[in-house]
């Protein structure tokens, strides 16, 4: 049932309007933050109000008129859209509180610009979720790129600006070049189909029928171009470079945008392309016969498999915590892409469920990294031995989320990964199931030492981290920073150009050490435990403010809930509705 209503538009508009209010009340920080909280709560409320209807088969549509012949600017809340929108708006509430604690804790500059850009970013993420066709999604996709740029370049240091430039170049190559090209191709291909005004780029569950009969070569090109275009934001290799660089942004940005909204919008775009533009059946028919059952989706599945393995291996070598998380994100996003590219019912469920699962877990991890930075100015894993004494709740949450990342049962990651593996085996693609299992081992290898050393090692007595040091290939590295610390300055390091470590060493944030009452740092000492080891803090929140601890524990709790009762907290039901609506897909 299609129901015309203002609600999808309202969900998007509420936060655009909030951005204006935030800009207008820049001189009164408490009022300004009130707008952020108000907008996030009302946005979640509006999105949540549509969930029961959507599960019952309703589709809420706001049509804003025609942009191109046959193409309307339309917002449409269907199950897939509601999945992403509810996720983004729910986690925006969590991150809003955290942002307030983080930005004030560090006494950051330009907070008005920060909160306004944040609101616009989330609004465009929800716009992407509710976009009813390729053109609408393209519009919001580009607005998202523009709106997140100020957040990436927030520090205004040369590193941050370079990261911003890199980010713009990558995302506009993906959006302005590839997605636009793909959209034009789809429009052209459908316009060739018989019947007047047949040109369309509307999302249709199971795929646009005109594409099934289109010229196979051109349709394959269109699919690959679109998949790669959205793949840039989804961190598919070789287009992943922007993500580690973008870690110079404040941690809430890395948390919500670079683990949830921005990267997921790329993944979500791929989901739309696979499920609603081409459809699993059409994709399986496209491509040379040698591609087998997966058809033209096979190259995407292969790229995703390579990405998720290679990124995990790179993550092993990273000593900077946020960087390691970034590579973990790149790896985990490819789980989702792989699940989608397998074109099989269970794999689709797993891939789609991994969108919220990874979001909860990775947000927890990033928020933990951020709180450690605010409290102790420690960014490097090698300096975190024994930190569990100082930040017990934080590191417990970190441990839970890390276990989920590796696919340990009772945490969200297990459920989604289980479905993808089952789907891979059912579809006769055992090799991809093998890749997933290997990746689980790698996940443990790069997350477990962090948790282990936090609780069971001390600064004076701990193993060397990271697990792998030195460049791959064994050649002796020249240390760019001249320090003895083994870092990522290897000769074959593929992301040595922009390095948030430099930010760490530059001490941008340390100017405010004196004003931070919790800090354990001295001037001139960049992170790591103070002399005499980490002081012990209690388990009742003595380690930081509840502005930051609350969000962390909420996100960790959500990851557990999704792992234990996936149906009860709705996300699993939404995912099953999405896959159930696809013609020709057996669950």
């Amino acid at each position: 049932m299609i129901e015309p209503t203002i609600r999808p538009l309202a969900a998007v508009a509420v936060s655009f309007v909030a951005a204006a209010f935030i800009l207008a009340s820049g001189r009164r920080p408490n009022l300004r933050e009130a707008w952020t909280v108000l907008a996030s709560v009302s946005m979640f409320g509006i999105v949540a109000s549509m969930v029961p209807g959507v599960l019952a088969g309703e589709v809420y549509v706001t049509n804003l008129g025609t942009v191109l012949p046959g193409v309307d600017f339309v917002l449409r809340a269907d199950p897939l859209g509601v999945l992403f929108a509810s996720l983004a708006s729910l986690l925006w509430i969590v991150t809003s509180f955290y942002s307030i604690g983080y930005m004030r804790g560090l006494d950051e500059h330009n907070q008005t610009r920060y909160f306004a850009s944040f609101a616009v970013s989330v609004a465009s993420a929800v716009g992407i979720a509710f976009a009813g066709n390729l053109l609408t999604i393209f519009v919001f996709y580009e607005v998202l790129s523009v709106a997140t740029y100020p957040l990436v370049a927030h520090d205004e240091t040369p590193e941050a600006r370079a990261a911003g430039r890199k980010y713009l170049a990558y995302t506009f190559f993906g959006g302005g070049v590839l997605v636009l090209a793909g959209t034009v191709l789809v429009y052209w291909l459908t316009s060739l189909a018989p019947g007047a005004e047949s040109a369309t780029v509307d999302f249709t569950p199971g795929g646009i029928s005109a594409l099934a009969n289109a010229d196979p070569t051109a349709a394959s090109v269109a699919f690959i171009v679109l998949a790669l275009g959205f793949g840039v934001k989804a961190g598919l290799m070789p287009f992943h470079q922007w993500l580690p660089s973008a870690m110079v942004a404040p941690t809430p940005v890395s948390g919500l945008l670079h683990a949830v909204a921005v990267v997921k919008s790329g993944v979500f775009g791929i989901a739309r392309v696979v499920l609603d533009v081409f459809g699993p059946e059409t994709l399986a028919d496209l491509g040379p016969a040698s591609f087998g059952d997966l058809g033209i989706a096979l190259p995407v599945a292969i790229i995703a498999s390579i990405t998720l393995t290679v990124a995990s291996i790179i993550a092993l070598r990273k000593d900077h915590l946020k960087r390691r998380l970034a590579y973990s994100t790149i790896s985990q996003l490819s789980y989702i892409v792989l699940g989608l590219a397998l074109l099989e019912g269970d794999a689709l469920i797993g891939g789609l469920l991994h969108i919220p699962a990874h979001a909860f877990m990775k947000l927890t991890l990033f928020l933990c990294a951020g709180i450690i930075h605010v409290e102790t100015h420690t960014d490097n894993i090698s300096e975190m031995a024994g930190i569990g004494r100082r930040m017990p709740l934080t590191m417990t949450a970190f441990g839970i989320a890390a276990a989920g990342m590796a696919g340990i049962p009772l945490v969200a990651g297990f459920v989604s990964k289980w479905y993808i593996v089952i789907g891979a085996l059912d579809g006769g693609n055992a090799v991809f199931a093998g890749v997933l299992l290997v990746s689980g081992v790698l996940n443990i290898a790069y997350f477990w030492p962090i948790v282990y050393q936090a609780f069971f090692e001390t600064p004076d007595d701990h193993d060397t981290k990271p697990l792998l040091e030195g460049p791959f290939g064994g050649r002796d590295a020249i240390r760019a920073d001249g320090s003895g610390r083994t870092d990522d300055h290897g000769t074959v390091d593929i992301d040595a150009s922009v390095d948030p470590d430099a930010n760490h060493e530059g001490g941008v944030h340390h100017a405010h050490d004196d004003t931070d009452e919790h800090h354990d740092d001295h001037h001139g000492h960049h992170g790591g435990p103070p002399a005499g080891g980490w002081p012990k803090r209690n388990w009742r929140g003595g380690e930081s403010t509840w502005f930051m601890l609350g969000p962390i524990l909420t996100a960790a709790a959500l990851s557990l809930l999704l792992g234990i009762i996936p149906h009860t907290i709705v996300f699993m039901r939404i995912v099953e509705t999405i896959v159930g609506n696809l013609p020709g897909v057996v669950v």
Partner: protein, 513 residues
């Protein structure tokens, strides 16, 4: 049918041009109100014209004709108003009003300037509305001569140099155009566009004289449009002209020349000519594609802000000319949308640059460091318009690009399609640099600039009426408002595609029978 609206559109500004000089003998500041009144009248007329054509249902209603002095075509000169020319006339009048409001406090304020301004407007409207090739030449020369004068009105040595360079090259361009028209006259004995269309169809499109005529007209107009490698006059002219003048000519002069090329290509020579002369078509596409790439690269290499925008025009007009060569209805629709969109965007960018240069003396990109904090509205306008120029939706920039790219795909010109898609990144190379410097670079505390900013703040203390973040009192409010309104319009016009298709459908129906 004789429609007096068309005649008024051309004659009102031309006649009004006398009055600033005339009243200037007695009143010192007579020029601005007269020019503004003239532009407003013209805007009303252009709006009426567009509305009449928009609402007309008959074919004659969609193509209004005025026979000058009652002599019938093909012997007399006729003015023709159809959807295409109405759009350009609307653009000319709207930009004129915007630039005039902008120029009130910044000048060049002499009465002679406003006379020239009105003459230029009349010339541009004449080029837009004429249905006669020789008449087009006359208006082309009017436009050219006045532009030389306006560029030189900065009184600086470099402005004179820029104007002289433009004078030489512009005259060569106009002469080449005239030679082409001469060839056509010799071969056919007619100068009326529609009449020529019929006669050329009889003669055949492969005759060398006809081909040569098109070649001369093409190269002459490409010189006026400033397509690479015939662009060399344009960066100097735009850079050294006063800010008001660069905004006006960058938005309209090349635009109208490109309109003339579209009009002649499709109304006189028609698509059959392109189909019959594949070599010429390919050459147009090739030159224009090179113009897109080289123009963008040259723009990215510049340090002076006005030069960046000037070379950017070289690239953007490459995109419009490529659409002519693609010979596709879809691409041509994109070209017209981009013609209008680029005019608005460039006017906004040059006016924004003018504000920053008069407030802070900022003329190079590095001067822009950190200016966003001091003048947020102007910087915001430049940023929004710059992103629209890149083709970031929602904006008019993406509409033009969409249709040109779609046309390229439809006609199977894959290399052109790729260049157009890549042009996003090419444009981004220079736009992103400006935005990054404005917002994220710390202000460089050179002595000169510190002095300039201090003086600005000094004025601000004494004056409560803060316009733009509180520091820009030296810049009149209306200048900032104009930039902001135009910047918003580039975004709002994202929803304008119906207007374009409705107006252009009858015209393109004739072009692509």
């Amino acid at each position: 049918m004789s429609d007096v609206l068309l005649a008024l559109l051309v004659t009102v500004p031309l006649v009004a041009a006398i009055f600033p000089l005339l009243f200037g003998l007695r009143y010192e500041n007579a020029g601005w109100p007269i020019a503004l009144a003239g532009s407003l009248v013209v805007t009303g007329l252009a709006g009426t014209l567009a509305w009449e054509i928009f609402t007309a249902s008959t074919e004659t209603g969609q193509r209004l004709v005025h026979e000058m002095a009652g002599y019938p075509a093909p012997y007399g000169i006729e003015l023709v108003g159809d959807g295409l020319s109405a759009l350009i006339a609307l653009l000319i009048s709207v930009v004129s009003v915007a630039v005039l409001i902008y120029s009130r406090s910044t000048g060049p304020g002499s009465n002679a300037f406003y006379s020239g301004f009105l003459l230029l407007m009349g010339g541009l409207l004449g080029m837009t509305l004429t249905g006669d090739l020789f008449n087009l030449f006359v208006f082309l020369e009017i436009v050219g001569l006045i532009t030389y004068a306006l560029v030189a009105s900065d009184d600086s040595g470099m402005a004179a140099y820029g104007a002289l360079k433009y004078l030489f090259l512009g005259t060569v361009g106009a002469s080449l155009y005239l030679i082409g028209v001469g060839y056509l006259l010799v071969r056919t004995g007619s100068l009326n566009m529609l009449d020529l269309q019929a006669r050329l169809a009889d003669i055949g499109y492969t005759e060398p004289l006809v081909q040569a005529a098109f070649g001369f007209i093409l190269i002459g107009l490409m010189l006026k449009i400033a397509v690479f490698p015939l662009h060399t006059w344009q960066p100097d002219a735009y850079t050294y002209a006063p800010d008001t003048v660069s905004a006006y000519i960058s938005a309209l002069v090349s635009t109208t020349a490109a309109y003339a090329l579209i009009r002649i290509s499709f109304d006189v020579f028609t698509v059959d000519f392109f189909a019959a002369n594949q070599l010429i078509t390919d050459a147009v596409v090739l030159v224009a594609s090179i113009s897109i790439v080289v123009g963008s690269l040259l723009a990215a290499m510049q340090t002076e802000i006005k030069r960046v925008f000037a070379y950017s025009s070289v690239a953007q007009f490459g995109m419009i000319v490529v659409a002519i060569g693609l010979n596709s209805r879809t691409a041509l629709l994109g070209a017209v949308i981009h013609l209008v969109g680029h005019g608005l965007m460039k006017a906004t960018l040059f006016m924004g640059a003018g504000i920053l240069s008069s407030a802070y003396g900022a003329t190079t990109i590095s001067d822009y460091a950190g200016l966003a904090k001091r003048s947020p509205i102007t910087s915001g306008g430049i940023a929004v318009t710059g992103l629209a120029l890149v083709g970031i939706p929602p904006s008019i920039g993406i509409l033009g690009k969409w249709y040109i790219a779609l046309g390229a795909v439809e006609s199977g010109s894959w290399s052109v399609a790729i260049i157009i898609f890549i042009s996003t990144l090419l444009t981004l190379t220079y736009v992103a640099r400006i935005i990054e410097t404005l917002y994220f670079n710390p202000p460089e505390a050179t002595h000169e600039e510190t002095a300039a900013s201090e003086s600005v703040e000094h004025v601000a203390v004494g004056d409560e009426a803060v316009a733009d973040g509180g520091l820009e009192t030296r810049v009149a409010t209306e200048r900032i408002v104009v930039v902001a309104v135009l910047a918003v319009s580039t975004v709002a016009l994202f929803a304008s595609v119906d207007l374009f298709t409705e107006l252009l459908d009858p015209v393109f129906g004739r072009f692509f029978q």
